[in-house]
């Protein structure tokens, strides 16, 4: 039998994702060093990041709201992905009923559930999740 042929190929494609009003509010908020959430007019769930539909009841979100730029750590995990070691956390912004994924910049052994974290803003004021470089302990 012939030696198996392995085809090393790439799928290399550009994409561009249009943010609707609520993601726009959140991302432009980050660029202005603000954390923006949204509230469900039906069940009053507060979601951070802001989003167009309630994660609890699927209703259209109502108003957006500015949140205090601090939160608590609910869980974390340290992993090495594509050669980069990082600690990721799920952070509950104060007043939010949801958690958000971000990078936690702290020695993992010092992390505790419920500890307070604040954003360390990136020097670049971009409308991207990376406008927060990481969350850090207060």
């Amino acid at each position: 039998m012939t030696e198996p042929t392995i085809l090393h190929q790439k799928i290399n494609l550009p994409y561009r994702y249009t943010a609707g009003d609520f993601h726009k509010a959140f991302l432009y908020g980050l660029a202005n060093r603000r954390i923006v959430g949204s509230r469900c007019p039906a069940c009053l769930t507060v979601a951070v990041p802001a989003r167009p539909f309630c994660p609890e009841c699927s209703a259209h979100s109502g108003e957006t709201m500015d949140m205090k730029p601090k939160g608590t750590l609910e869980t974390w995990s340290t992993a090495t992905i594509q050669g980069v070691t990082r600690t990721y956390g799920l952070i509950r912004i104060r007043g939010a009923d949801t958690v958000m994924l971000h990078i936690v910049d702290a020695e993992p052994s010092t992390l505790q559930v419920g500890m307070e974290l604040v954003p360390r803003w990136s020097p670049e004021p971009v409308p991207e999740i990376t406008a927060i470089a990481a969350f850090i302990p207060t």
Partner: protein
């Protein structure tokens, strides 16, 4: 609705780097075995439902690659982009409603061919998550810490399931035999995504699975002891970041809707084949389905389960396949005494968002 049976099952050898075969050839191994098991030819099949994922297969409309081997020329083939039990459910519906008589259900995947971190990365929310560069292991690690913190299960419970799965791999000819391992070795292994270690995730595998479904009339003609699909169910939970990992309402609903079709009442099935890519999830899902973790390797995942080595998408049908072998009494060294009823479970998505359950039984 008409009664539907499984009259043939087949699997490829599941192994790391099946680079001796292309997708279609890999799937053909399973289809050949399933057809031989049923005692029919591909021409006898009147419809196919396949399960596969474009990102893993590395091509768009990836079911095109298997059109010939599933025999879909001028015939129906439909494709579910999720766990194979989703395809089984749809294949069941196409026969239960009287539209078809003999169906082929397949799943295939080669985890070794793509870069899993980028493939899994594409499942993250593109607005507020994807740029952070996480992968499915991180989602599992975040969840595992919460599960362990709740006290429901410990890393030792999870490690014990990994140990049992590795031991079971030695008596499952369709998977690569894994090195036996102790609980301590699993716990002390290098970390994957804390608190999870590298053996908490099922091994990277290539493989396929196929089965033949038939109406009651055809099934009785082909077999003295068809395995009946007594119930099917599925549900999808909230997106991973919006759902606490202890929220298993989607699994509950999938199980409840499958069991409600069976008439089993509150009787506990004789056998549970449960899918979970991460060991702590296996503790959760198996317990929630009603299995005893201490029975791992016996009435819980006698096949070894996903941790004995199946690819994503295929695990669910591999679980069904083991149930079929057990219910027929053809499970060889793994055979349970007098198994009559079984639950097979499949799962898909970041943080196990979608659950699928098939209830299987033998007897009239």
């Amino acid at each position: 609705m008409g009664r539907v049976a499984i009259v043939g099952v087949g699997q490829s050898v599941h192994a790391r780097d099946r680079n001796d075969v292309a997708y279609a050839e890999l799937l053909l191994e399973a289809i050949d075995e399933a057809l031989a098991d049923a005692g029919i030819g591909l021409a006898d099949v009147d419809n196919a439902v396949t399960a596969s994922l474009d990102f893993y297969d590395g091509r768009t409309i990836a079911n095109m690659a298997v059109a010939d081997v599933v025999g879909s020329y001028l015939k129906p083939e439909s494709r579910i982009c999720s766990d194979g039990i989703g395809a089984l459910l749809y294949g069941w519906a196409r026969i239960a409603d009287g539209a078809h008589q003999v169906g082929l259900v397949t799943a295939h995947c080669k985890e070794s061919e793509g870069n899993l971190a980028t493939i899994e990365g594409a499942a993250f929310d593109p607005f507020v998550q994807r740029r952070l560069g996480a992968d499915a292991d991180v989602v599992a690690g975040l969840g595992a810490r919460q599960i362990y913190a709740s006290g429901a299960f410990s890393p030792t419970d999870a490690a014990a399931l990994v140990v049992a799965a590795r031991a079971a791999s030695a008596v499952n000819s369709k998977v690569t035999t894994l090195e036996p391992m102790t609980i301590a070795e699993v716990l002390d292994a290098p970390r994957l995504a804390t608190p999870l270690g590298v053996f908490d995730r099922a091994p990277n595998r290539d493989g396929s699975c196929a089965m033949i479904l038939a109406t009651e009339e055809v099934a009785r003609d082909l077999s003295d002891s068809p395995v009946w699909i007594a119930g099917v169910g599925t549900a999808t939970g909230k997106y991973w970041a919006d759902r606490h990992p202890a929220d298993l309402s989607a699994l509950d609903r999938a199980r409840d809707s499958a069991v409600a079709m069976t008439g089993w009442g509150t009787d506990v099935p004789d056998l549970f084949e449960v899918s979970a890519q991460y060991a702590h999830q296996l503790c959760q899902f198996a317990t929630r389905l009603g299995a005893q973790l201490t029975e791992a390797g016996r009435t819980l995942n006698p096949s070894g389960g996903w941790h004995a080595g199946n690819p994503v998408t295929v695990s669910g049908l591999s679980r069904v396949t083991e149930c079929v072998h057990q219910l027929r009494g053809h499970a060889g060294p793994r055979q349970l005494h007098d198994a009559q009823r079984a639950l097979a479970h499949g799962v898909a998505g970041l943080g196990a968002q979608s659950h699928f359950v098939a209830a299987l039984e033998v007897g009239d």
